[in-house]
Symmetry: C2
Subunit: 409 residues, 2 copies
């Protein structure tokens, strides 16, 4: 099998494993619920997650509420009500849908379970503000203008919400909450994903008041009173499974590579450097292992950055791959690819890029300078010229990027 | 033992192993010469290399010629004549010293050996031009102005020299040449180091003439005639040992780490990306292996680059280390260091930098922003404030840089 066909297999497997459906199925495997199960799903992938859970659990689900973004639901789901609402700015539909979820999960018994399916976008879609929405918007604007960091912003906002910062789990008590979280933030910070409705809050009222003072925030009496109410510091009734994150993408690539005969190593699942330099670093690793007798795979998950200087067409994954081409040129059966798990890399129709030891030569023959194209952020055009674009179409998931160096023997 | 003291051990060991003396001793271990041994040493480290060889071989050496840069010899060496000459531009002393070496190695017997000790700078110090030196300089200037690449430049220059491009080895025939090469170029390209006096040349006369045409070079009849004389494509009488290169630096770090209880992995010995991004990449690896139960060491050799934007004080090794500080902050017993093997990093008195999981916190307390200092290329000042400068003094070798991530358990 060619190295390029190995690449296609690895990508297909990794994306499959990171799909909401597969992620939910994995998290529910072997899970037994003692009593009634109430399903609450919120986020951009809420519909897929709920569908997968109901397909698996069927009759076990007592009743459910699904809250997703407009145009993100794909039909009815057994025993659940589906709500579409505003994102990224919450609207009245967000609030009424959240109210429906709170009503369904009120007054439950200790052996009841709230199956809570959370995905990116949940912060806007799952919200019940404790102050008028207009004031909440105004405070958010003040915070943004003040230069407050994301931790400071969340310290304030969690206290102005009836569901964030662990309060939704508190509301469900004494029922058990089984949370399945599809993470799209590197490092899976559970207090950040949808502002952590089922995760204890680490900040204190004193922290919140210090932030108000530090940035001279203007707040109503009502908002100020909210900041003085403590968020839960521990939650006894919550069990959380993080799934479908970039870690899953890497783990799946690791499995695929093993199946294809490579000895895999995951270097990192939180890559965050410049795309070009990540490509150069992977190529430098390739040169070190050029004489290997075993097939090797070096896997890096994360999200690199691009410094836009030029006016070309491309994306961070395409830049990463193209930047590795010169450095692996002349080696034997060596390839580097990088793909965005959502199937979209930058403002292009490609998911990412692929290069191998022949790419630099092919481009030179075509009169294309890799250096110039990278300087012009024009990786798409260079990769197109050598068959190096990877196209998957929209995948239905979004858990960052996967970059892999393959050395085939 | 603390992680910082481990770092000091690793650096001392690695530099020790990369010193010319140690490198020559390693290459001569177990080597037996059947007949007379004529020593020719050329380059900036020629004196140290010759001294080490003569100290080891003593009476075995019949006679020798050492050619080094002005002020680079440190006294007499048994049975050898020492010449100091011009670098980077060859002068009359270069030519007369080279002539002395050629005279000594002329008319040798098949069981004689030429022990050829080569180090950086040899291209200027060891030279016998076949055309007047003024014309050689003029052609070099034309090539530089034309935009010719380094391969094209060497294709021309090797043909204009009586010793480059394998011709010195050809001259020594039928004697055997045992070449010990101290490499300061990443990847150890033997045809590039001192223009490869004992290494076959891959280019052809046709290549050389095509370059003349491509760049419309103006050459004398004499020079043109030289281009039509073929360089040796194979050399039966040469054995080459590359030693003391960045590979040695990495191998030594690997051994030190093992001795100190770490499980080491050399990621690369040809790192060439941006210093900041290399630091970020190493930190991303650290986060992946944060939960390891074994002590781990990830080793990268090479030479990163710095894009000067600010007016601060620092060097590529200091930038690499400082750039890793934020990313390893909060992890347990984790450090990143980077040093230049010559003991000089950028225009500073430091050899490199060290950071660990506490560094970012310490700097924050001191009101120092890592991001701002990196933007200002001011890593020296930030590292100085947290005890993160590594100072070794001049080491007497120069085989690129060593960067290491340590996770201690």
């Amino acid at each position: 099998m060619s190295i390029r066909s190995d690449v296609d297999h690895i990508i297909a497997d990794a994306i499959q494993a990171a799909l909401p459906d597969a992620a939910v199925a994995r998290a529910l495997t072997g899970k037994v619920f003692p009593g009634r199960v109430f399903l609450i799903a919120a986020g951009k992938a809420a519909w897929q997650m709920a569908k997968a859970a109901v397909d698996l659990l069927g009759d076990t689900i007592t009743e459910g509420v699904v809250i997703t973004k407009y145009a993100h639901s794909h039909g009815d789901i057994f025993r659940t009500t589906i709500h579409e609402a505003g994102h990224p700015v919450p609207d009245d539909n967000s609030f009424s849908a959240t109210e429906a979820a709170l009503t369904l999960t009120k007054g439950l018994q200790p052996d009841d379970t709230v199956l809570f399916l959370l995905s990116g976008g949940g912060s806007a879609l799952f919200e019940k503000p404790l102050i008028p929405p207009q004031e909440l918007q105004d405070i958010t604007k003040q915070l943004l203008a003040s230069g407050a960091d994301i931790v400071e912003m969340n310290t304030i906002r969690k206290r102005l919400s009836a569901v964030k910062g662990g309060r939704f789990a508190q509301h469900c008590f004494p029922a058990q909450v089984y949370a399945i979280v599809l993470s799209d933030i590197i490092g899976d910070p559970l207090d950040m994903i949808a502002s952590g409705p089922a995760y204890p809050d680490a900040s204190s009222c004193a922290d919140a008041l210090a932030i108000v003072k530090r940035y001279a925030l203007r707040l109503s009496e009502q908002a100020l009173a909210c900041l003085n109410v403590e968020t839960p510091k521990a939650l006894q009734n919550v069990e959380t499974q993080v799934t479908g994150s970039v870690k899953q993408l890497c783990a799946s690539a690791e499995e695929s590579c093993t199946r294809l005969g490579y000895r895999p190593m995951v270097l990192t699942d939180s890559l965050c450097c410049t795309a070009r330099d990540a490509g150069s670093f992977l190529a430098a690793i390739a040169r070190r292992y050029a004489e290997t007798e075993d097939s090797l795979a070096f896997i890096a998950g994360g999200e690199t950055v691009v410094h836009l200087k030029g006016k070309g067409k491309g994306g961070r994954n395409q830049e990463l791959a193209l930047a590795a081409a010169e450095g692996i040129s002349g080696l034997r059966d060596t390839a580097v690819f990088s793909v965005g798990s959502d199937g979209t890399d930058g403002p292009t129709d490609a998911a990412g890029g692929y290069v191998d030891n022949t790419t630099a030569g092919v481009l030179r023959q075509s009169g294309i300078s890799i250096f110039d194209e990278l300087e012009n952020n024009n990786a798409y055009v260079a990769l197109e010229a050598c068959g190096g674009l990877i196209k998957t179409g929209a995948t239905g998931t979004n858990v960052n990027d996967l970059s892999v160096l393959l050395i085939k023997r």
